[in-house]
Symmetry: none
Subunit: 215 residues, 4 copies
DNA sequence: CATGAATGAGTATTCATTCAT
DNA sequence: CATGAATGAATACTCATTCAT
């Protein structure tokens, strides 16, 4: 039972939510900023607190340790992306697969467009941090979403081919994740989103077209 | 009585080079072994030396620090993969693109088949360690190799389309790297190489077929 | 208001400044004590902290490293001596040179009389530590003070002989520093201050008398 | 029983003196050079050997450790100075004290004139290294020499005043040592020997004149 | 709830020294 | 006699974490 997360449920606190949110957010932002500047390993908790303008002790009011903070940052951002993707799928359910895929691509690019730097830091952090388990977990969540994409288009050849669907979903996720992450890590905050869009369309449509018989 | 000097009565001392190589190699192997067992962060230099059967000081004869050793391991393995890929391309120059791509896929899978665990550790380590610069550098090296693949098949539509070729190469590299790395990280030493091969063929051939007009 | 724990007699906690001063001072005292006991080179930071009754980390709150602490100790002691000398000069300004010199001698001896051991350690440490620059700097400061001595007595022959004054000052400082330091280093805490006083008077008065024409 | 010093007496070696002397000398010179460049503490035995152009192991053929080497350097140089001083005294025995003192001053300055840099290093090293014991020992040797100076001039007032003689000798040694050392340390290889000579004469003659009744 | 002085466990790293050749 | 790879004892130093205020 961590002191950090207890705030959500603890009755002892009268959190004056706005204050708490502010401090926590400041810490997260400080962390991301430092992440871009000097890399995860070199960041010190003292530093995070200093940049955030909080006392050292306050850090521990909100987070267990550096990794905990990192995980929270990672989780929030991933979740946002996931939800966005899901919304795009829902909004195009029943449409041809090609259209849904395009919608997903557009949705993801839109999310990234707003904060290319932060996303660069995010992908870098993700690479740095993830244990095999965490890696798989996050991946599977997105793969699940892709299964949703494939099922949303009623083009599935036969039923009972779940296994194939999942495989296709994994390949799709790998392609989109790889291209998006690579673009954001490799370009230092100035990703060419147009080229990225073109590449994504090319790769996904190409792959899915060739798999038409299966999925 | 140090293990180092124990070498009983037999081959007292090997010529310099081979001794040095031996110690350095032992350290590298110890590192990879520990990497698989407990993850980068938890590894201690004392431990590496102990597992390698060397004195603590010897570590510093060969490496600056843990990260230096990691980088050397990473570099050597990547280089091997690169050379292997290049050989496969050279051996199939002039053949249809599809064939060359298959050769590359087979070559890479072959390399991975021998030490799936070590490759899992490698991809994990790569994620953990690489700075944006190192990441880009390694990536670009492989992209260059893919440009070679595309040029080896004399199917390039028009000349002067270097830019397109490079983009296609990047997408190909992203696909193969993403799928291979993901498979080795996510399966804890038991990657389904047959499925991986199928996925790679599907994704690459599908993508390249749809881009036929361009490249 | 936590009066509960205040328990009357216990001066639980002093205001910040004084606490900090206490810890830093304790470290300095521990250092000097160890210095006398075993010499600079043999002192360990752990030891200093232990003797001071502080945690190891606290050492680094106040000092960069052993040398830093040593320099602080050296500086404080020298400064005290300097100020004392200056006060003696000021108190006898306008008196005959001989009198002022005697006052300076008496002042310095007085300062040393209180802690002969610590002064022994001080001179030893000074010898051990000082780089040529630090050495010169400290020296010049005292030479400056001697210039003050010579000027305080209005016996300067002609004006514009600043250069000579400085030279005389240097010689005086060398004599007093050499004799005092030597006596404290060489006698292991039991300096014969009477003899020292006699020697100082003899050397300084003798020298100054012979230079009367100049200064 | 050090291996280093054994060479003088050990029958086991056929020293081919020239070789040994060469290596030992090279090490000493390398040491002095490094001493001037970076200070005693920062010097590494590896470095000394490297600069001397010898193998690391060879260092231990000639010296116990860094301090031993330092002591040898210190000792040789001091001894040379001492012998020179003694020779000057002997050459002027029976002459007036003033004359002998001048001869001693001249002799010392002559010795220093040849290698001001090395002497600077010497005095620095002496300051750095000497334990109270070593310090006193060296000092006493020179004081003894000064006793010789005072006795060489047949001006001693009454006999049985050994104690006074010794005190005067100490003061003289302190004056000359202080001025000479200070000049060589503080001027980075470019000591003003003329000024030094003037100061020495002024201080010593002044002091001795005022003590005429005693000595 | 905020703060930051105090703490010390945990490691990296250096460098003198040895000894087989 | 010369060499330098190997060694590990000895320490410095960092930095997360606590807790009294």
């Amino acid at each position: 039972m961590t002191a950090a997360r207890a705030s959500a449920a603890a009755p002892r606190r009268k959190p004056r939510q706005s204050r708490a949110r502010h401090t926590s957010q400041a810490l997260q932002e400080a962390f991301v900023r430092l992440l871009v500047e000097k890399g995860y390993a070199a960041i010190t908790i003292r530093e995070i607190a200093a940049v955030a303008g909080t006392g050292l002790g306050s850090f521990y009011e909100y987070f267990e340790n550096k990794e905990d903070l990192a995980r929270v940052c990672l989780h929030l951002r991933s979740k946002a992306l996931l939800l966005d993707m899901r919304a795009a799928v829902a909004a195009h359910a029943g449409r041809p697969l090609r259209e849904i895929v395009d919608a997903v691509i557009d949705a993801q690019l839109e999310v990234h467009r707003a904060q290319p730097l932060a996303w660069g830091a995010h992908y870098l952090l993700e690479r740095h941090l993830s244990s095999p388990e965490a890696y798989r977990k996050m991946y599977d969540r997105f793969v699940g979403e892709w299964v949703g994409v494939l099922e949303a288009a009623n083009e599935l050849a036969a039923d009972g081919q779940k296994k194939d669907v999942k495989e296709v979903a994994r390949v799709c996720q790998t392609i989109i994740y790889g291209l998006v992450a690579h673009t954001h890590i490799g370009t230092g905050g100035r990703p060419d989103l147009q080229a990225l869009s073109r590449q994504l369309r090319g790769a996904l449509h190409g792959y899915l077209a060739s798999t038409a018989g299966v999925a």
